[in-house]
Symmetry: C2
Subunit: 217 residues, 2 copies
């Protein structure tokens, strides 16, 4: 991996890099070879100086008067983010959201391969979803170690999220993406991300309320 110029990359930068990769990928599919920083910024919904600042963490990109080479930039960001490889993932909690993720083709396309699914509900154990058999959660620690899994996805109800996290850590997982609407406690070397779409609903509700009170709507 490329040596990073700074140790600490802001979370917001990582998030924007993910958007850049996505948009660069679409461009590559469309056969676009070079893009101006203005155009890339516009497509990603940020300003050009933000892109330059974000990319500066990873090295020198862009050619004055030309812009960015689409393929090179995409590869460089992918490498920086650790996306130039595949990641084995397990999922805990086979409810509506868990099923949707198991059937989602974008995860695999982005290098995240769900290799096992777990649930503690006896009615779900043994069921096959998207080619995977649901296993009893008690088997999780051994399975994840055997399959060299690094990332765990939690889609349990909120009250079971911590237990799921404990199983995952027992299984040697290094990072967790928690879709359950509750906080979990982990040691510092475990990377945890929360995906809580209700927060985004809240934000929109808040912004509409604000816009209405300002007479903008």
């Amino acid at each position: 991996m490329q040596q990073l110029k700074f140790e600490r990359i802001p979370r917001a930068t990582i998030s924007r890099l993910a958007v850049y990769v996505q948009e660069l990928e679409v461009m590559e599919q469309q056969g676009i070879k070079v893009i101006s920083s203005e155009k890339l910024a516009q497509l990603c919904g940020v300003n050009p100086s933000q892109i330059r600042k974000d990319l500066a963490y990873f090295g020198e990109f862009g050619v004055r008067g030309v812009g960015y080479y689409v393929h090179e930039l995409r590869e460089a960001i992918r490498q920086s983010l650790g996306l130039d490889r595949t990641w084995n993932v397990v999922l805990v909690g086979v409810g509506n959201l868990g099923r949707a993720l198991l059937r989602h083709n974008l995860l695999r396309k982005r290098g995240f391969v769900i290799v096992a699914a777990f649930d503690c509900d006896p009615f779900k154990i043994g069921e096959e979803i998207a080619g995977l058999e649901v296993n009893c959660t008690s088997k999780l620690p051994k399975s994840t170690r055997d399959m060299n899994v690094e990332i765990g996805v939690i889609t349990t109800p909120p009250e079971r999220a911590q237990r799921a996290a404990n199983y995952l850590m027992e299984g040697g997982i290094k990072g967790i993406v928690n879709f359950a609407p509750s906080r979990i406690t982990t040691p510092e070397n475990i990377s945890v991300e929360y995906v809580d779409f209700i927060h985004h609903m809240f934000s929109v509700a808040f912004n509409i309320t604000q816009n209405q009170s300002k007479g903008l709507l």
Copy 2:
């Protein structure tokens, strides 16, 4: 609504307020009446001064030597966020994720009521999911106006997200939560939130890669 002390509340604050509301709700269910700022901070995964700063946007909270009154604080945040009412929501794109959201009970519990679901796939139109009949997307603008809908949720494939957004805006929607992994263009008075779980997968992958290169794993 309470008068806000500042016009512009940082996004990160809104996001944390959503966490505070969630945790306060759990406490209220457990019969907890008062909580210290340290304990609340710990449960929410932030530090106490952050909570004080976030709440300062909305008024004076907390009693020295006592902490926060759980019910009062929860109500005040709910009111500030515009959550002391229900919001009519429509969903566009009845794929795996759309189905999961239609069946998700948390949305309604939080005041977001999905009143209609749309898809352009003739095989899906007429299907009933969670008590709602899937309608043809061309009917969306009239339906949303008739039902006084303010928020639209997009769960289409990425290439159809902009079209879905156009239909929603034609229907007079004021805010959009976009789950499709592509940017959409809207006028400034439309509030747009992106829910892209792939970004969170990216962040975890990046952090694991970083931790490994630092020898922490």
